[in-house]
Each structure stands twice: as structure tokens, then as C-alpha cells.
């Protein structure tokens, strides 16, 4: 891999994939902690405060790692993608800077207050700080998704004679239709991660017969929030994303569905391995005409296949795209099944005794992280070969003077450092889970 472009792409892919483990958890937990604090305040039930305090510790560890791995992301636009930054900085710099100015200050302030100020702030003040933390992290999510959405579906810009994109409509950038769909889909994904994490720890406590009161509380809240999020993830947000793709990124849609031939009444592939040489799907398990219906709401509608487009305009890694998309959808379906069954048992008041269901919840833990990661791979590999869809190719955006050797050097450095971070994260989180929810609030 002497090609600098490949190394720069790997560099961004590796650092962003690792980074995204943490925000998806903290954004999900931020909502759940806020709900815990709200219930605690309204009912005056100390159990919920204890639960919130426990999750604040897990949140704190993840938040710190999200912050330190997030800063390299903002810098990499300039270091590794300088030609892209030169051309598009006047547009996407707006949303990136807004993230710093509007949400990072908010988050960092109230994160400190929430973690250390429970006694100083009193119940109402502490509740407010949990709300601010929730708003800050969700706003941050929006501005990052809006940045990505502009690269997926550029709006509100004009091309200057010197090759720079200039902003012409601030509101078009901030209220990009693509961003609205992508944001709701992404945030629901984060809520699912948070819910499964909470339910999994709850199941662990119930199965090992420790902290059972808290375990039940975790499962109850997580299953209720999770089942709602899992359904909304499928419809309308996942469906809405698909409609946007069909209209604006038909190349991506064809490649991720593994649709080689343009056809009327196109089938939906559930399983199968794309054979890129013979241009067909091996061992296919398909639902006839379903892709046409899902995309256009007409069973016989024509869907463009990969044969419709010149090869240089198709994503350059179709197999990865196909699999990441199918992994995401497959897991999403599994989440609905597991959560629906859990919710049913919760309603019948048999969930806490059902060891099989508790084991299922316990073992579900890694899968939402995988599904969210696969979702992002689908979005970003699907955007290829474009850096800004239809306007700037990925190879045109790279820093020309940063050689493959220099990029490898820093990529290896990040790999080593992030391995250490991963070990520390698991060590500290497992330690907190082992200790369990504390009885007393700590003071600052």
C-alpha cells in the first residue's frame, strides 16, 4: 500500500470508527440519564438517583474518550485532506465551528457540573445539568451529521472561479433535508446502543443476583425506550434514508442492495455473496419485487442497477458496502425481535425471572455497536468515489504533500495509542459494573 490516497483513507476510517464507539454510547446514555433524573425528580424515588449516578460514571469514562478521540477528527480535515478543506472549508467549516461554539462549551461545562456538583446544585439544579448535557451532546451530533450530509447531498453553495465552494444559503446548509433524515436515523441508533448497554448490565445483575433492584430498573427503562427506538429506526427513518438514496444517490442504492441489473419489480436480497467477476449474487435469498416496493411504493417499479452507471461513478468497494448495509439491516431486525419479546415479557411481568431472555439481553451488548458502525460504513463507502457527492472525487481532496510514509507513521501511532485506550476503557467500565451502583452521592 504505497498509494498515499489509500493510507489517508484508512487513517480517517480507522480514527473515526474508533471514535464513534464512544459518542453513540454517550448520546444514548445522555437521554437515558436525563429520563432517570426526570423520574427521580417527579416521584422523589431515590432508586432512580442511584441509577443515574451509576450511569454517570460509565458516561464519564466514555465521554472522556469521546472527547480525546474526537479532536483528531476535526484536525484531520486539514492535515490529511487539505485540498478538500481549501475547496469546501468556507461551507462545512461553518457547521464544524458551530459544533465547537454551541455544543462543546455547553457539554464540557455541564458535564463537570453533573459529575461533581450533585450536592452543590441540589435536585433541581442537578436535573437541569443532566438536561443540558443531553441537549449539548445531541446538538453536537446534529452539527456533525449536517457536515456529513453536505458531503452526501451538497446544498446552498456556489462554485467560485478559483475552485472554492462558497456558501450561498446558511439555512439550506443547516436544514439540509438529508441531514434531517440522517440525524434521526443516527440518533435512534445511539439510543438503541444506550438501551442495550443498560439492559445488558441490568441482565448481568439479575442473572448474578446482585444489585437486583437496580438491575430491574435498568431493564425496565431500557426495554421501553429501546423498543420504541428500534421501531422508529426501521420506519420512518430507515425508510426515509432509502428514499433519499433512490432519488439522489442511485449508484449507492444499486451497489448496497447488490442489484447488478436494472429491472422492473426488482427483488430485495436478504442474503447472498456478490460475485464481482460474473456480476451476480451467489446463493441468493431474495424477496421478489420487494426492493421496487420499498423504494417507490409500487411493486413493478423500475430500479436502476449497477449496469446503468459508468464503472468510475460506482463506489470503489462494492462488496464492503453490500455487507455493511446487510449487517446493519440484519442486526436492526434482530433488535426489534429481541426488544419486542422483552417488552412482551415485561408487560406480562415475567421478564425478570426469564433466564433465557435475560441471557439474550446480556449477550446483545456488542451488536448495536456493530450495527451503528456498519451503518456509518454504508453511508461513507456508499458516497464513494465522491468526497462531495457529484462534485469532488475523493482522490482530488487529499493533502498532496503528505506522503504515504508520513501517513503510515501517524496511522500506526494512532493504532498503538487507541489499543491502549480500548484496554483502559474496558478495564474501567468492567470495574464500575463490578462495583455496582453506590449508595451515596459524591461531593465536589
Amino acid at each position: 500500500m504505497e498509494d498515499a490516497l489509500t493510507v489517508h483513507r484508512l487513517h480517517f476510517a480507522f480514527t473515526v470508527t474508533f471514535h464513534y464507539i464512544f459518542p453513540q454510547l454517550t448520546m444514548g446514555l445522555a437521554l437515558l440519564i436525563f429520563l432517570l433524573k426526570t423520574i427521580a425528580l417527579r416521584r422523589g424515588d431515590e432508586h432512580y438517583n442511584r441509577a443515574a449516578r451509576f450511569w454517570a460514571k460509565i458516561f464519564g469514562i466514555s465521554f472522556a474518550l469521546g472527547v480525546v478521540t474526537g479532536i483528531p477528527m476535526e484536525f484531520q480535515f486539514g492535515t490529511n485532506w487539505s485540498e478538500f478543506s481549501k475547496a469546501a472549508g468556507g461551507v462545512i467549516g461553518q457547521t464544524l465551528a458551530m459544533e465547537g461554539v454551541f455544543s462543546f462549551f455547553l457539554e464540557s461545562t455541564f458535564f463537570g457540573l453533573f459529575l461533581l456538583g450533585e450536592k452543590r446544585l441540589g435536585p433541581k439544579g442537578h436535573w437541569v445539568s443532566s438536561l443540558m448535557m443531553f441537549l449539548g451532546s445531541w446538538l453536537s451530533g446534529y452539527l456533525i451529521v449536517a457536515t456529513d450530509a453536505w458531503m452526501q447531498h451538497p446544498v446552498g453553495y456556489a462554485l467560485s472561479p478559483n475552485g472554492q465552494f462558497q456558501l450561498t444559503s446558511f439555512w439550506a446548509l443547516v436544514l439540509n433535508r438529508w441531514a434531517l433524515w440522517q440525524y434521526s436515523h443516527t440518533m435512534l441508533g445511539a439510543v438503541i446502543t444506550g438501551s442495550f448497554t443498560m439492559a445488558s448490565v441490568g441482565a448481568f445483575y439479575l442473572l448474578s443476583r446482585t444489585h437486583e433492584d437496580c438491575g430491574q430498573l435498568f431493564i425496565r427503562l431500557a426495554v421501553i425506550v429501546g423498543v420504541i427506538a428500534a421501531f422508529l429506526q426501521l420506519f420512518p427513518t430507515g425508510d426515509g434514508q432509502g428514499t433519499m438514496l433512490a432519488r439522489y444517490q442511485p449508484t449507492t442504492l444499486a451497489a448496497m442492495e447488490g442489484l447488478f441489473e436494472t429491472q422492473e419489480g426488482a427483488p430485495l436480497a436478504i442474503l447472498g455473496q456478490p460475485d464481482m467477476v460474473n456480476r451476480r449474487l451467489d446463493n441468493p435469498l431474495i424477496v421478489p419485487k420487494a426492493l421496487s416496493f420499498l423504494t417507490y411504493r409500487v411493486w413493478s417499479a423500475k430500479v436502476d442497477g449497477m449496469d446503468k452507471f459508468p464503472p468510475q461513478d460506482l463506489p470503489d468497494n462494492i462488496t464492503l458496502l453490500y455487507y455493511s448495509y446487510h449487517v446493519m439491516v440484519g442486526l436492526g431486525t434482530m433488535f426489534i425481535a429481541v426488544l419486542l419479546l422483552s417488552a412482551w415479557k415485561l408487560w406480562r411481568k415475567t421478564l425478570y425471572e426469564s433466564r433465557g431472555m435475560l441471557w439474550a439481553l446480556l449477550l446483545s451488548l456488542p451488536f448495536p455497536f456493530i450495527a451503528n458502525t456498519a451503518g456509518w460504513i454504508t453511508a461513507e463507502v456508499g458516497r464513494q468515489p465522491w468526497l462531495i457527492f457529484g462534485l469532488m472525487r475523493t482522490r482530488a481532496g487529499v493533502s498532496p504533500q503528505v506522503s504515504a510514509g508520513n501517513a503510515w507513521f501517524t496511522l500506526i501511532g494512532f493504532m498503538g495509542l487507541y489499543t491502549v485506550l480500548a484496554i483502559l476503557f474496558l478495564f474501567l467500565v468492567f470495574r464500575e459494573i463490578e462495583r455496582g451502583p453506590a449508595l451515596e452521592a459524591k461531593s465536589a
Partner: protein, 348 residues
């Protein structure tokens, strides 16, 4: 509009250096002023609730530079590729050492993170000084506005210069000295007893160091970068900034002798702000001077983003900064006063 943003970005960086400067300085003096675990906890607690918010000023300044001067952002970040990545690694290490130190008790765990915290903070101070030195000295820009500097060559200033040469190293040492002073004064302000005394003693040493280095660096800079003396001779009101810096430096000495801790720290803030304002004033309208050919240099005019984006940006930026300042003030007031040395207090 370009000049307004030049001033605002410079202002954000100034706030960053003044605020995160004391975190980094406190980190750099950490091992010297605090010996026992209880004492070290005091130092960490003095910055614990605020370091993250202080670091945000750099991220916000970076983002603001990105949308206002995209050419400068792209050119300098890719040109300073290697040192910037190392700065990022140091940021990662500093951040996790502050946050993770308190999670486990025991001398191996805390001792390790104390050392990581101190070393990362110290190196960051040197790196930031060297970065400033590079910007002032100028970089080998080509006609496309690109450059790439190796970490070092022969440590001489010339055509084949690296990130580190004798001048940038000198600025790096000066920055370290300034932040040692700044950090020691912060620690003195926030602590009591043994830590307080040691911090004051260290501040006295750092003061002599920075007093000498300020004179040396200023003299050398006027010779190396001709833009700077040019600016000061044509627009003499600019001498206001070095005067503020000088007053700050003398103010630190005066307040140290009289044991006015808050005034000493405030004077140190004035010194840092005055020095950085002098640099910004001295370089204007250049944002990134070229060591190759002055026609290749990036200036406010040739590097700024188009008008519409700058205008709309000013509106939301003003609103955002108003809010951000509000949170910062709120947070500092919440955690005002000396940190307690009582051992039963958990957390930071």
C-alpha cells in the same frame, strides 16, 4: 470583514492560551510542587472541573479558522502534519490522565498517570511555542500555498529549515517557561500549605527565566522576521501591546513579593495576552508568512472565505460566544476558591 475575523481568531487563541495555559502549566509543575498523593490530588482538583472547557477554546478557534480562512487551515495543518499529530497524541494522553487518575486507587496507577499528565503537559507547552515560532519565522510556501516541513534538518534557519531550528526551539523554551510561571501562579492561587509554598518558590525561578527569555526572543524576532519591526514603526499605537505584556511581567514580580496571589495570576494573564497580541499585531496582514518568496505568503486578503459566509458567521459566532462566556463564568464561580486538601472528598 477579513480583518475583523483576523482579530477574532487571534482573540480566541489568546483566550485559549491564557486558560488552557494554566492547565498545561499546572501539569508541567505537578511533579515538582506536589509530592504526596493528597497534594497531587489538590493540583488535579484545581483544574479538574475546567480543563475540558478550556481545551474547547482551541477546538472552537480551529473551527473558526477553518470557515473564515480555509486556505490557512488547509495549508498550515497539512504542512505541520507530523508535529500536529504528535500534539494530538499528547492531548489524548493529557486528557485521559486527568480523567482516569481518580478511578483507581493505589500508588502504581496514580503514580503512572501523574507522570503521564506532567510530561504530556510539559511537551505540549514546548510544541505550542515551537508552532508559534514557525508561524512567526515563516514557512517554505510554494506558489500553490503548500509546504511540508520535516521535524528537523540542521537546526539552522534557511531554505531547508525544519519545524525545529534554534529559533523555534528558543520560542518553545520561552513558552514552557511562561506557562510554568502561569501554572505555578494558578496552583498557588488554588492551594494551601506545602503545595502553595512550593508553587510560589517555583514561580520566582520561572519569573527570572521568562524575564530573560522575553528580552532575548523579542530581540531575535525583530531580526528574523522583518514584517514585525515594519509594523511597529508604521503604526506606533501597536506599542500598547508590548507595554501591556511588560506591565504584566512587572506586575507578577510585584504581586509575588507582596503575596497577592490573585493579582499575580491576573498579571500573568495580561503578560500572555500582551505577548500574543504583539505577535498578531506584528504579523498583520500576514497570517502565514513565506520564507521562500513573500508573494506566496498567505494574507488576510488572499486567504479569507467569501463575504456571505463571513457575514453570517459573525452573527451566530457572537451569539455562541456570549453563551460560552456565560457558561465559563458560571462554571468558574461554582468551583471558585481554594480546593480543599481534605482527603475524604472524592472525585478530583
Amino acid at each position: 470583514m477579513g480583518n475583523i475575523w483576523f482579530c477574532l481568531v487571534a482573540l480566541m487563541l489568546m483566550v485559549y492560551v491564557v486558560l488552557d495555559g494554566f492547565d498545561l502549566g499546572a501539569g508541567a509543575v505537578h511533579l515538582f510542587v506536589a509530592k504526596t498523593d493528597t497534594e497531587r490530588r489538590q493540583v488535579i482538583r484545581s483544574i479538574g472541573p475546567v480543563w475540558d472547557g478550556n481545551e474547547v477554546w482551541l477546538i472552537a478557534a480551529g473551527g473558526t479558522l477553518y470557515f473564515t480562512f480555509p486556505l490557512v487551515y488547509a495549508s498550515s495543518f497539512s504542512g505541520f502534519y507530523l508535529p500536529l499529530m504528535m500534539v494530538l497524541w499528547l492531548f489524548v494522553l493529557r486528557g485521559i490522565s486527568v480523567e482516569f487518575r481518580t478511578h483507581v486507587e493505589g500508588p502504581i496507577w496514580t503514580g503512572f498517570w501523574d507522570a503521564v499528565f506532567s510530561l504530556a503537559s510539559l511537551l505540549l507547552a514546548v510544541f505550542f511555542g515551537a508552532a508559534l515560532g514557525n508561524v512567526v519565522r515563516g514557512v517554505p510556501l510554494d506558489s500553490q500555498g503548500r509546504f511540508f516541513e520535516p521535524l528537523w534538518t540542521d537546526f539552522r534557519i534557511g531554505r531547508e529549515t525544519g519545524i525545529l531550528d534554534w529559533y523555534t526551539l528558543l520560542v518553545g523554551v520561552a513558552a514552557l517557561c511562561a506557562l510554568l510561571l502561569h501554572g505555578a501562579l494558578w496552583v498557588a492561587l488554588k492551594t494551601e500549605n506545602a503545595v502553595y509554598e512550593r508553587a510560589r518558590r517555583l514561580a520566582r525561578f520561572a519569573w527570572f527565566g521568562i524575564a530573560i527569555l522575553t528580552v532575548v526572543v523579542t530581540a531575535v524576532t525583530f531580526r528574523i522576521q522583518r514584517i514585525v519591526p515594519g509594523n511597529f514603526s508604521t503604526r506606533q499605537w501597536g506599542f500598547l501591546f508590548p507595554v501591556i505584556a511588560l506591565a504584566g511581567l512587572l506586575g507578577v514580580a510585584w504581586s509575588l513579593i507582596r503575596k497577592k496571589d490573585a493579582r499575580a495570576f491576573g498579571s500573568s494573564c495580561a503578560y500572555l495576552a500582551g505577548m500574543l497580541a504583539s505577535v498578531a499585531f506584528g504579523l498583520h496582514p500576514y497570517v502565514l508568512p513565506a520564507s521562500t518568496n513573500s508573494a506566496y505568503a498567505l494574507t488576510v486578503e488572499n486567504a479569507k472565505a467569501p463575504e456571505y459566509g463571513l457575514r453570517i458567521g459573525l452573527i451566530w459566532w457572537a451569539i455562541g460566544m456570549f453563551l460560552a462566556t456565560g457558561y465559563s463564568v458560571f462554571s468558574y464561580r461554582r468551583f471558585a476558591g481554594k480546593v480543599s486538601s481534605a482527603a475524604e472528598e472524592q472525585g478530583y
